[in-house]
Symmetry: C2
Amino acid sequence: MGGSIEEVAALAGVSTATVSRALRGLPYVAESTRRRVREAAAQLEYVASPQASRLASGHTRTIGVIADLTGWVFLQVLRGAEAVLREAGLDLLLYNPGDDSGPFDALPLRKRVDAVLVPCPPLTLMEMRSLQALNIPGVLVGASVPGFPSVRVDDVGGARTAVQHLINLGHRRIGLISGEAAGDGSDNRETALSTASADRRRGYREALAAAGIECDPGLEAVGGFTWRGGERAMAELFSVESPPTAVFVADDEMAMGALRALRRARLRVPEDMSVIGFGGHDKAEVFELTTVVQPLARQGKIAAELLLSLLDAVPDASQNLDASEVVVLPVSIEIRDTTCRPASGTT
Amino acid sequence: MGGSIEEVAALAGVSTATVSRALRGLPYVAESTRRRVREAAAQLEYVASPQASRLASGHTRTIGVIADLTGWVFLQVLRGAEAVLREAGLDLLLYNPGDDSGPFDALPLRKRVDAVLVPCPPLTLMEMRSLQALNIPGVLVGASVPGFPSVRVDDVGGARTAVQHLINLGHRRIGLISGEAAGDGSDNRETALSTASADRRRGYREALAAAGIECDPGLEAVGGFTWRGGERAMAELFSVESPPTAVFVADDEMAMGALRALRRARLRVPEDMSVIGFGGHDKAEVFELTTVVQPLARQGKIAAELLLSLLDAVPDASQNLDASEVVVLPVSIEIRDTTCRPASGTT
DNA sequence: GTGAAAGCGCTAACAT
DNA sequence: ATGTTAGCGCTTTCAC
């Protein structure tokens, strides 16, 4: 099968140690030697056995990606991260904690990966702790958990912007469809993603407060981050005595469901109901959905760079990233056709 | 860090060989011994070093997933496969051939994976050949390439069913939006996915022929499997002199774009134009899209099982799957609200 | 700048 | 049923 390092060494007329050094770009190898070794390797189509180097070096050069394969967001983040990590020669191992029974066993990860990337954290806080306990470094995307470096967007600010946009249009009765029910944050069993949900709700409330509009709990519904949930939630909202004229939906996926509910109820969008989403889903445009766009791939890219700095895999990193860093990216609002002034707009 | 096999052996009072045998469930180990070893391992939170076992055994117990991270289909397939493979204790390594320059280097795969899973083949036929040349077994999902076992749906039959449905409704001028332009199949540079595109077009033409309807090349457009492409293609179709009254869109993603085009052109669906998709996209329902549903996760599951049989990882496989097997699954049609009788329907 | 040799932590014969 | 031992193919001191 694949030639071994010894064959390369023989062909190049050097020792295996030199081959190893030459091929990995280590210093203290004469350029002429390096060239010779490279040629020999190419000629034999030599690829170092990763198992052997891992065993010998103690590094797996592998990143575990812990993600619920359901999501769409995670894919975008992964794309951004993948490019960077592959560039650095790291392997990506997939972990789906989802469907299994039991509370996610972090044990097999040890010895298997050097670090983990956790997009849209599908884990509970307790599970995150178990990762920490095993001393597996990792970076989160889309949520912040104390003790982990993370990359996310300004959820509070983004939500505020969204709601502010509705307010600027003249809306006063503004509904909210959030991902999860409001918790007190003390529940270790809630998913780390809850922070995004909570933050967006906070932004919503802040914007209302800033405009002097009182919060109406009857205008808040929960959609569970799925389009079906969003549909149900919207149906609830327009069925109340005094329905909102606009709704901020904390996730594009849910917003799609919300639009469906409105369409089926023969309510016109945006004339009868304005809808603004959050997320930057690539299909938002298909729906003409006004939404708050977050740079998903960029978050993945930055997370990957953080990961590399964590592994010291970037020796020439001019700017050293702190392991406990929390990178917060800004969002932008993309105005399409699901928002307009309220029918009885007074502005 | 993590204890080694020697520590476990010492604690259990046996040799390392016995620990290895006991923990891997090999025969010729006394049940009492096995229990003792298991307890020792649990106590030490022992996990075997995969690198070491791989190096020693020559098996990586890893499956490479070669997929373009763009897709949505691939995720569904992966979900089905993941469960099976994880159950079997196999690792999943991610490979994204997409963005990189160069023609996908299969070399690093060797020594790194035991086999590959290739959902919605993003590779050209040439690249598939290079996989073959390296003797890496693999199974394809969503397309068949000679020399590889594969799992796919009956694309021809599904397309025929879809078009037949339109015909039954009374349509005579039926358009097609296909993924790729018709090729002669001899181009090694086309992606393996082309077969799906070609098959669906074939089903479309067969259905027309069977109904005695002549094919009109002017009623066929290409959408490139993206919603934007589908939108463009639909815009083309309803702009011709004598537009179709219904369109078969060979992919749900494109169908979404097609619906958008119609909406923007103020054409009513289904009254002015019936649309039927293909794929079973989880968001088809959001659009009320009538479509041909393929069992994505099930394809992944079956592919994974094929993979296991390829690796002889299922010693007690009662039904031995042939390595050159091509599993073809049936599809079902899901009728929603984007299809109806033509306006001037004569039936 | 290069080579020799000792592991890395397992598995797989081969003994017993 | 269990133990002994020789690798698996690299990396990494430590000499030179």
